[in-house]
């Protein structure tokens, strides 16, 4: 364990005189590294208190810049910081608060490519993120790496706090196995949040970190604390560990898991209505019409590319191999032939048939379409 300088003994004297902390406890704090993911409403008080408390190595991760509307609750920043990098501004303020701390800063978004590398360098992870994808990513990375993490989350006047993956305790997936669908829950920027709430919840999170490091009190493992700032109620609920949630060995696509990225199922066929949905959602795919020129002159689906079946063999290079490709013809037969040819002769695996053809499209989606 790292020893304390005279300067540190003076700075942390109010800690050191507590029997629960003492010189040894302060040395433990100094010897601990903590990463705070997100330096916003929750991250601000977490970073300020952990820096003040003398956590020896602190990581600050945030990809964003300070916005004027952040200042109502993100107390780490001042008006002069508007427009500047949060990670860098946080570093400046925190270094001024406590120059004895060793800081790392990451001006990037936590994602599947960097999560294991970045989290791997720290003992404890604190969640100050503002979305479900990042929370499931932090959870899974912490499970894979065997690290505890302190969760915090807020909604209007209410906050939730818990500690996951601590001393063989349950994880975030044990508490919430499935994420809510997009749009079911909104975030602060959409619905608002009372400014002091992240201050309270973030301070609770910092308190959990300090208790974990010192080995004092009861850590909120296996329990969710819900705080209501309006009536000052604090509700605690116990939840059980599900060992299935600890079998994971790699990260998944969290945008798909949380439903924020829509995917086209590579089924063999698609209905006109589903095709209309993926067009409406602007999903990235190619739409190919394999009818003849004269037919396309009568009617066609917007943004489709005409490659008559008779010319398909010489125009293979026009067909995407990377994104889903939907084929259509009049009634679905020629498009099925095109797919079968491309699959067997050219090993395509990304092809989908509009099985009722443009006729089905006219019947179900575009009633005004010219038919033949």
């Amino acid at each position: 364990m790292q020893s304390l300088s005279i300067e540190e003994k003076k700075r942390y004297s109010r800690h050191i005189i507590l029997p629960e902390v003492g010189i040894e406890g302060q040395q433990k704090l100094k010897s601990t590294s903590v990463l705070v993911v997100g330096a916003g409403g929750l991250g601000s008080p977490v970073l300020l208190y952990l820096t003040a408390a003398g956590i020896g190595h602190i990581g600050i991760l945030d990809f964003d810049q300070v916005d004027e509307s952040n200042l109502q609750r993100q107390i780490l920043y001042s008006t002069n910081d508007v427009g500047k990098s949060k990670a860098k501004s946080a570093l400046t303020h925190l270094t001024a608060l406590n120059p004895l701390i060793n800081f790392d800063f990451f001006e990037e978004r936590l994602d599947n490519h960097n999560a294991l590398d970045i989290l791997g360098n720290f003992d404890i992870i604190v969640d100050g993120s503002d979305n479900f994808q990042t929370r499931y990513l932090i959870n899974d990375a912490c499970v894979i790496l065997g690290k505890p993490w302190v969760f915090g989350s807020i909604y209007k006047f209410e906050g939730q706090v818990s500690v996951f993956n601590y001393n063989n305790g349950p994880s975030y997936r044990c508490l919430y196995p499935t994420p809510p669908l997009p749009g079911e829950m909104d975030n602060c920027s959409e619905i608002g949040v009372i400014g002091v709430l992240p201050g309270i919840i973030g301070t609770y999170q910092a308190n959990e970190v300090v208790k974990m490091v010192l080995g004092i009190g009861q850590v909120l493992s296996g329990q969710l604390l819900v705080f209501d700032a309006l009536n000052m109620n604090q509700y605690k609920v116990k939840f059980q560990k599900n060992s299935d949630n600890f079998e994971l060995t790699q990260l998944v696509d969290y945008e798909v898991f949380c439903g924020t990225k829509k995917v086209i199922n590579l089924n063999d066929s698609i209905s006109p209505k589903d095709l209309a949905i993926i067009i409406e959602d602007n999903l990235d795919f190619q739409l190919i019409d394999v009818r003849e020129n004269w037919e396309a002159e009568i009617c066609k689906i917007h943004n489709s590319q005409l490659i008559p079946l008779s010319q398909l063999g010489s125009k293979i290079e026009l067909i995407s191999t990377t994104k889903p490709v939907v084929f259509y013809c009049h009634h679905g037969l020629r498009s099925a032939q095109a797919i079968s040819f491309l699959k067997s002769k050219h090993n395509f695996t990304n092809l989908i048939n509009l099985s009722s053809g443009i006729h089905g499209w006219a019947m179900e989606v575009d009633n005004g379409m010219e038919q033949y």
Binding site: S153, P180, M185, P198, L224, K238
Partner: protein, 84 residues
């Protein structure tokens, strides 16, 4: 129903508070399962059905949905929240 020993206290958190317009409610749920309670509540507040991830706690603990509620048991609806 007024608060009394002959009732169950139900607490609403997060978006369930907005959907129901209530932070707490007293009902007699004796003999009903958590699942039945949830179903009946959803009939009253159909928007609750839209919540795909909603935990229901009985006496400060998550329990199986077939568990039968006794008088005096306290129930809480806790959806996940994502702000930060």
């Amino acid at each position: 129903m007024e608060k009394s020993v002959n009732s169950n206290k139900i607490l609403f958190f997060g978006i369930t508070k907005d959907i129901t317009g209530l932070s707490e409610l007293y009902l007699n749920l004796e003999g009903k399962s958590i699942a039945t309670f949830k179903e009946e509540l959803t009939l009253k507040f159909p928007k609750l059905k839209l919540l795909s991830s909603l935990n229901i706690a009985l006496n400060h603990e998550y329990v199986p949905l077939d568990l039968i509620i006794s008088l005096g048991d306290e129930i809480a609806l806790i959806p996940p929240v994502s702000g930060g």
